[in-house]
């Protein structure tokens, strides 16, 4: 206990000394996020300093072992670091799929060689990772993927395509699920392969959504050479890692609903827009819909809190992550439906007048994808029914 208190005061002092003032305020927009990577242009000197300092301590990945550049902290120490950072409202030094996704997978399934090669650059924010799972024809049936690696002895030659890669055109390396055995049953011939996006034969194309521009890209492979030593775990065993990564992603998406609510409360916006009449919103039915939404939001948050309390030290949420993904995304869709109702005729504006370029309408449209990406709501309900409730079939 004494040791922890000492650590807290050390951290506090260190942060005080090293976190630049401008890194202690909330993001003004998405443009303030630091993504890192080979081609990263820091938006400010402070952003660069902050990343460097934190990376040096390994605190960009606080719980990773020190030999891979991580902070080597246990849960309790890491929690203190987090608390102290949020105390001074410090921005995350970097937002990275490397730290959030492929890093943990490598720690769990990767060879020593791959860990040594990839983890330290991730900690330092030098390589920006992107993911390649979905394919145009696979959809929910992810394991039916068709991007194919032909064994050429010491390497693979890959052909096919991936879709829904976030920031694919900005990625330095990709981790992708590729079919390495076309004869095997569909779940058993898949490998998780890492490769440099600059490899010849790789091209990307941006995807326009119904809400407008998006970070998503499609990625094409044409006779692309991939190295065999970049397969994570055993060849043809990629599906296990994929499931691990998906559960991980679902937990993160479930949390998103949570973060959203940090934004301005729906009821406050409604009061501002519609005004009160004897202390009540003048549209009594919209008022009730908003109350139901706020209630369900609290229900979801408290349930995530309870699950965290229950799973305590690092145990995976497992199939419960599907429940949280389902509720988190359905709630976010409802939130935007209600915001559109509150906005009424003004919310329809896409261009012109004071529409802020149709921001609300675009977010509303974008939210429709929440219950599709990362596994559709239908898939999540299937998982809950089968893996939690034990229903047959």
């Amino acid at each position: 206990m004494r040791e922890l208190e000492q650590f807290r005061s050390d951290v506090r002092a260190w942060l005080e000394a090293h976190c630049p003032e401008s890194m202690r305020e909330p993001y003004r927009s998405e443009a303030d996020v630091c993504w890192g990577g080979r081609n990263w242009k820091f938006q400010s000197e402070d952003q660069e300093i902050w990343l460097r300092c934190m990376a040096e301590k390994g605190w960009t990945a606080p719980t990773w072992p020190a030999q891979y550049g991580g902070g080597g902290l246990d849960r309790e120490h890491a929690k203190i670091l987090k608390q102290e950072m949020s105390r001074i409202k410090a921005r995350p030094p970097i937002y990275s799929f490397g730290i959030a996704m492929i890093g943990p997978a490598l720690l769990k399934y990767g060879s020593e060689e791959l860990k040594m090669q990839h983890l330290p650059p991730i900690v330092r924010g030098e390589i920006r990772w992107v993911q390649g799972y979905s394919e145009p024809n696979a959809g929910s049936d992810l394991a039916s993927l068709q991007a194919r690696a032909d064994d050429q002895g010491d390497h693979y030659i890959v052909n096919g395509s991936k879709i829904w890669t976030s920031y694919g055109e900005k990625g330095d390396w990709m981790f992708a699920l590729i079919r390495t055995d076309s004869e095997a049953p569909k779940h058993q011939g898949i490998s998780l392969i890492l490769f440099d996006m600059q490899t010849p034969g790789i091209s990307t194309r941006p995807i326009q959504l119904i809400s407008g521009k998006s970070p998503f890209t499609e990625t094409f492979f044409e006779n692309t050479r991939m190295e065999k030593n970049q397969v994570v775990g055993e060849p043809n065993q990629g599906w296990t890692i994929a499931k691990y990564l998906l559960t991980h992603e679902r937990e993160m998406i479930g949390e998103t609903g949570n973060l959203q609510s940090g934004a301005e409360l729906l009821s406050h916006i409604a009061v501002k827009k519609l005004g009160l009449d004897n202390g009540r919103l003048s549209n009594p039915v919209l008022r009730t819909d908003i109350a139901r939404f706020e209630i369900d939001e609290v229900c979801h948050q408290l349930t995530m809190e309870r699950a965290r309390d229950e799973t305590k030290a690092g145990a995976s949420l497992g199939p419960s992550a599907s429940m949280f993904k389902y509720y988190g995304t359905e709630l976010n869709k409802r939130r935007y439906e209600l915001l559109m109702a509150v906005g009424a005729q003004d919310a329809l504006i896409w261009e012109g007048a004071d529409s802020n370029e149709g921001e609300l309408a675009r977010r509303w449209l974008r939210s429709k994808g929440n219950s599709i990406e990362g596994g559709t709501s239908e898939i999540q309900l299937n998982i809950v029914a089968k893996r939690i409730l034990g229903l047959p079939g």
Binding site: S134, S140, S144, I210, V285, M340, I349, T376
Partner: protein, 379 residues
């Protein structure tokens, strides 16, 4: 009268569908959008529609129209909902014509209706003043000025406001802001120098405008209907508008549903057609049933308009509320059932969701109409 289309109506439906599918399929809307068109509709297409006689459907024969009634115009609106074809049919040929036939003097009718029937004159309704549809909340002032009036105020969400030749403006001639009595309607030339127009594009490339009126001087002959009793004209116009929007929403919902049903029958996942999943089947079956119900009430509503049913306000709000909720649900389910591809701009299904939201919201959303329905029913 039975709830089925007669032969003549079936022919109109077929010819409307053929025309729209050929001349204005969904790619027409996409082209309009991508070409940066600022009117929100194609004047060339509009003159073809006029040639088809659509602009004249509601106009009485004595003013050069076909006098084919709301049932006829509703058929065309429903079909144009299927192709999401933008046009001033709703603002000019449905609401504008209803305003003139309900409240217009013979002189006013003679002045406007023949040109409207010919497709060469557009009308627009400027009745809202805030983001929420509330036709009785009128602060725009019409002050006596010489023999006529001087209008000052701001009107919002005027559909086709920037395209119109003549605006139908509600303004207050007496009473206080939320009172129905004291609202009067005025026919105002849209190019009047005292009018400032802010055009905007809504989410699917249709357009509308906010309009500021600054001492707009008009003559006494500009009054539409009785002074102070504008709601006696505006109510029927808004009822017709709500039912017309509902006919269009019916087309939107049907097309979105049919495309989705087609997708369920062709898309495979886990080795089977996704249409074989029972959870999707049940959701599809309920959507089918809801749409069948929508067909019945839209038909009923158009008939009620034609015969001048005395409960039109109740009927109109019933229909708009039901169609809004159904089409909203169906177009959102259409995206969900299409999955990722439904989210891409390249694919067409998202346009139905967008158009639905617009039709739902303009002239009162389901909240407005549920409230109005209950009020009309006495509770």
């Amino acid at each position: 009268m039975t709830l089925v289309l007669n032969e003549e109506q079936l022919m109109l439906k077929e010819s409307a569908r053929d025309f729209l599918q050929q001349r204005a399929p969904l790619s027409h809307l996409r082209e309009l959008r991508d070409s940066g068109n600022t009117r929100g509709y194609s004047p060339e297409l509009w003159s073809e529609m006029a040639d088809m006689g659509w602009t004249a459907i509601l106009v009485p024969e004595q003013y050069g129209g076909l006098e084919y009634g709301y049932s006829g115009l509703g058929i065309v609106l429903e079909e144009s909902g299927r192709t999401l074809t933008p046009s001033p049919l709703l603002s000019t040929c449905l609401m504008g014509v209803t305003a003139l036939t309900t409240g217009g003097s013979d002189e006013q009718r003679r002045k406007y209706l023949p040109e409207v029937a010919a497709g060469s004159h557009l009308l627009a309704l400027a009745v809202n003043e805030s983001s929420v549809h509330a036709p009785c909340s009128v602060a725009t002032a019409a002050q006596a000025s010489g023999e006529g009036f001087s209008l000052t105020g701001r009107k919002t969400a005027v559909i086709d406001g920037h395209n119109a030749d003549t605006l139908i403006v509600s303004a207050r001639t007496r009473g206080t802001e939320h009172e129905a009595d004291g609202i009067s309607l005025f026919l105002v030339p849209a190019d009047h120098p005292g009018i400032h127009t802010e055009r905007y594009r809504v989410l699917d490339t249709h357009t509308a405008a906010h309009m500021t009126l600054d001492k707009v001087e008009i003559g006494p002959d500009a009054v539409l209907g009785e002074l102070h009793r504008g709601m006696a004209v505006l109510d029927p116009v808004l009822n017709a508008g709500a039912i017309g929007q509902s006919a269009e929403l019916l087309g939107v919902a049907q097309e979105a549903f049919e495309r989705t049903l087609g997708y369920l029958k062709e898309r495979k996942q886990f080795g089977v057609l996704i249409g074989s999943f029972q959870a999707l089947q049940h959701r599809a079956a309920v959507m089918f049933g809801d749409i069948e119900q929508c067909k019945s009430i839209v038909l009923k509503g158009l008939r009620a308009l034609d015969k001048g049913d005395e409960n039109l306000s109740e009927i109109a709000s019933l229909i708009k509320a039901k169609l809004s909720e159904t089409a909203h649900h169906v177009t959102a389910e259409a995206i969900q059932m299409h999955g990722g591809i439904g989210m891409t701009d390249e694919f067409d299904i998202g346009f139905f969701l967008k158009r639905c939201q617009i039709l739902e919201t303009f002239l009162g959303d389901h909240y407005f109409h549920l409230d109005r329905f209950a009020g009309q029913r006495g509770y």
